[in-house]
């Protein structure tokens, strides 16, 4: 925790660094000798086909996965060797949002947002009343920020997909993170809700100077949203450059077909 905090404002270290990371699940190689680093306060978009390793990469940043080989440093913390307590401290500084929102549908919107603060609270919590008043107020402020204060006491499962994703963003923001991971945040949404969620993510990331790593499927959104684009194909980085001035054609190479022998390997 102290390491993470003391390093969070030293951009030259790179906010996040992958060094020769290989990750295998059984016989499947999800990441293949990946070395890449992400500077602080920038919006980075990962592009690539399903199964190219985008999610696996994101999940290494907060230690949901540990590398089979190589090392990952996030905010100065060596994630590959970190123990449970260190990881908890690091995760407190790293917010994450997911394709399927991952809200408890039977809980109120407000309580869902409060769960984002669990990393800095001690002990188990059950029910809205069990969170300190300051946390509930902070949750309300974040809900107002994503435009859903009026839904605070509604059950999360009754909201639309776009609204649920905004609740999930509020849940990540209540952590006051320095890094925000977004795993295909708009893949389950219709185009209109997608635009709203991306617009919100962009605005908040700029306001808070967040380091964003976001995986996406929609190239046009990526080109508009990103400072930098990293392309993955079969677990390898095949493209890595600033988004400014990039065109559709520049990105197309990422989606080149994988050689047949490797594809079967991936499918297995």
């Amino acid at each position: 925790m102290t390491a993470a905090t003391s390093n969070r404002n030293i951009p030259e270290l790179g906010a996040i660094r992958f060094e020769n990371v290989t990750k295998t699940f059984g016989s499947v190689t999800a990441l293949d000798d990946v070395s890449v680093s992400f500077a602080a306060n920038k919006i980075n978009v990962l592009l690539g086909l399903s199964g190219s390793g985008k999610s696996t990469m994101l999940r290494h940043i907060n230690g949901l996965h540990k590398p089979s080989k190589g090392g990952v440093w996030t905010l100065g913390t060596p994630v590959h060797s970190a123990g449970a307590a260190t990881l908890r401290g690091l995760r407190n500084d790293v917010g994450m949002i997911f394709q399927q929102f991952h809200l408890v549908e039977s809980m109120s919107v407000l309580e869902n947002v409060c769960t984002g603060k669990l990393g800095s609270l001690r002990g188990p919590r059950f029910g809205l009343w069990s969170y300190p008043r300051a946390v509930r107020e902070a949750a309300m402020e974040q809900l107002a920020r994503v435009g859903l204060a009026d839904k605070a006491f509604q059950r999360a499962g009754t909201l639309s997909g776009g609204q649920q994703q905004r609740v999930a963003i509020a849940r990540a923001l209540i952590q006051r993170p320095t890094v925000l991971l977004a795993d295909e945040p708009v893949a389950s949404l219709d185009p209109l809700s997608s635009a709203g969620v991306i617009e919100l993510l962009t605005r908040i990331s700029r306001e808070e100077n967040l380091t964003v790593i976001c995986s996406l499927h929609q190239v046009p959104i990526a080109l508009e949203f990103a400072d930098r684009i990293v392309g993955l194909n079969a677990g390898r980085v095949v493209l890595d450059r600033p988004a400014a001035g990039m065109t559709h054609d520049d990105v197309d190479g990422i989606y080149a077909p994988i050689p047949v022998d490797e594809r079967t390997e991936l499918a297995g």
Partner: protein
């Protein structure tokens, strides 16, 4: 059974039998691809089913359950009816006291079961366990608690703690872990792991993500399962009256032991009414909790719905961010009808549990002393020995298994038509389906003990009474399971078959029954498992089998015989369960 074996072949090849009809047309004959051979496992499972069926038929014959013995019993039935009238109800005050005592024991036992089952289930579920060792230990606890009948827990615990409510509560509570823990673990394993992962990625510890995401998600199932177990415990507590568990069951046992049939049958009637009433009430609450009721019900049911609404329905939204005078944000929901209802429900539950705990009059004063005596008491149970009864005991165990087999077969014959008519997608009208559903609920409410007592008086002591009681009891569970599995079939398949011009009967056999067949087999095997356990227990009232010897041995304090019987029962029950689980898996 033959129909089913046939059907499972077609499922295996994926080729419907109707393909053969093509050969009669003008098209070129399509050669049938070779049929893949069914796996050795499936053949073995199929043979097991056939063997079980033959064993069940043999049991019906061996136990002499036939028309002749029924006719012979007719006289007895007449005598019985003349002996129980007029019914002799105890004074209302006395009746309320004993009913209260029963309910208090059952409430506390069920709460105990929930409190013990939840941690066991969290360790037993793959997604919340701390590791394979704890998972194995928890699974073993669940299996053992289920395999040891509550009656056996009661005998041992009475020996340990002496008379009083405590041994009864512990016996019911411990045995309940077998079912409640299993159902809780299943519910937890079926959860969507997303919210837990979200909290984990925000730095939440295991205990935090369990209490903040897992428990809220399974809460409706936790409560529904507890209510279901409450009904079962109520029925069992009556049976445990025979070994000294207080309340209405004890009074019933005393009345029957002293041949006071008028009093006994009056008490049986009260128990019957109590069981059916509570079964219906808990059924309504469960349906409401799991979100299976129409909106806007009024009265008591409406209240139940509003209480359950906390977990199911959507409250009205649309409130702006509110600030107090000091500029602080309002962070508590308003006290609307729904919130008041939910809090009233929680308060009522707490009050009932508190009242029951006080009323059960638990005496912990000698607890420490009793526990210190545990090794010595257990010593009297060891080593297990049949004394000189080995042949008798083995034969009685066989009779118990025969009762279970015969009861399941007879129950199936009765449950099939009732279940079919209770399925809403098969019955000719909603009225018919509701009528048969109600019949099933009433049968489910009948305590098997009461049925056994009635049949004992009619057919005399022995296995026929036990078999008939269990057969009728099976109709309640099996009928419900049959109806449920028919209703869960894919209606689009039925539509497709109907669209070809098939008659309703053809639709039923080709689409509905065909789809539900695997579940049917699973349910019947489960019922067999349940019936063999119950057959053990019913023996204590004289309905045949091993239970009678178990009660006797404990009365005359031959605890080594008790242990021998316990081991026999355990081995049998675990073996039957293993066969059932394996067969279900092989035929899936």
């Amino acid at each position: 059974m033959t129909v089913d074996t046939d059907a499972s072949h077609s499922a295996h090849t994926g080729i419907p039998h109707t393909d053969a009809s093509h050969t009669g047309t003008s098209h070129a004959k399509v050669p049938l691809p070779p049929r893949p051979r069914p796996s050795a496992n499936r053949i073995a499972a199929g043979s097991t089913l056939v063997i079980i069926l033959i064993a069940a038929i043999w049991s019906v014959v061996a136990l002499e359950i036939n028309v002749a013995s029924m006719v012979r019993s007719l006289d007895n039935a007449g005598n019985f009816v003349s002996r129980i009238f007029p019914l002799d109800f105890p004074p209302l005050g006395e009746l309320l006291v004993m009913t209260g005592q029963t309910l208090a024991i059952v409430v506390v036992a069920t709460v105990l079961a929930v409190v013990l089952s939840l941690p066991v289930a969290l360790f037993a579920a793959a997604n919340t366990t701390s590791g394979p060792v704890m998972r194995g230990v928890s699974r073993t606890i669940i299996v053992m608690c289920r395999a040891v009948p509550d009656l056996i827990f009661a005998i041992v615990l009475f020996r340990l703690f002496g008379l009083g409510a405590l041994p009864g509560i512990l016996a019911l509570g411990l045995h309940s872990i077998g079912m409640v823990g299993k159902l809780y673990a299943d519910a937890i394993e079926e959860l969507d792991g997303g919210p837990a992962e979200a909290v984990r990625s925000a730095g939440g510890s295991r205990l935090q993500w369990i209490t903040s995401t897992v428990i809220p998600q399974v809460m409706p199932q936790l409560i529904a399962t507890a209510l279901h177990r409450f009904d079962i415990n109520l029925r069992t507590s009556v049976l445990l009256g025979y070994v000294g568990v207080g309340g209405i069951g004890l009074e019933l046992a005393n009345a029957l032991r002293t041949m006071q049939y008028q009093r006994g049958m009056a008490l049986a009637l009260v128990i019957l009414a109590l069981c059916i009433a509570l079964e219906m009430l808990s059924g309504a609450i469960r349906a409401s909790l799991l979100g299976r009721v129409p909106a806007n019900r009024r009265g008591v049911l409406g209240f139940i719905d509003r209480v359950a609404a906390g977990w199911i329905t959507a409250p009205r939204g649309g409130r702006e961010l509110q600030r107090g005078k000091d500029g602080r944000v309002r962070i508590a929901p308003q006290w609307d009808r729904e919130r008041i209802g939910r809090f009233a429900g929680v308060a009522l539950t707490i009050a009932i549990v508190a009242l029951a705990t006080v009323y059960a009059d638990l005496d912990f004063s000698t607890l420490a002393e009793d526990l210190l005596a545990l090794p010595q008491v257990l010593g009297t149970f060891l080593p297990p020995s049949p004394q000189d009864l080995i042949d008798t005991l083995l034969e009685a165990m066989l009779v118990t298994v025969q009762i279970g087999l015969a009861a399941t077969l007879l129950g199936l014959v009765l449950a099939l038509p009732i279940g079919v008519f209770a399925a809403r997608n098969v019955a000719s009208s909603g009225f018919v389906a509701n009528l048969f559903r109600t019949i099933i609920v009433i049968i489910r409410g009948l305590p098997e003990l009461i049925l056994a007592i009635v049949f004992i008086v009619i057919t005399g002591l022995g296995p026929i009474a036990g078999t008939l009681a269990l057969a009728i009891g099976s109709v309640g569970l099996l009928g419900k399971l049959v109806a449920d599995s028919l209703e869960e079939t894919d209606v689009r398949v039925q539509d497709a078959v109907r669209a070809t011009g098939a008659t309703p009967i053809q639709v039923f056999f080709a689409a509905t029954l065909r789809q539900a067949a695997p579940q049917f087999i699973a349910h019947v095997l489960y019922q067999l498992d349940v019936n063999i356990r119950s057959a053990t227990l019913l023996g204590i009232v004289g309905a045949g089998g091993i239970g009678f010897y178990l009660l006797n041995a404990s009365r005359v304090q031959e605890f080594d015989v008790v242990t021998f019987i316990i081991v026999m029962v355990l081995v049998t029950v675990l073996a039957v369960e293993a066969v059932a689980v394996w067969t279900r898996k092989a035929l899936r």
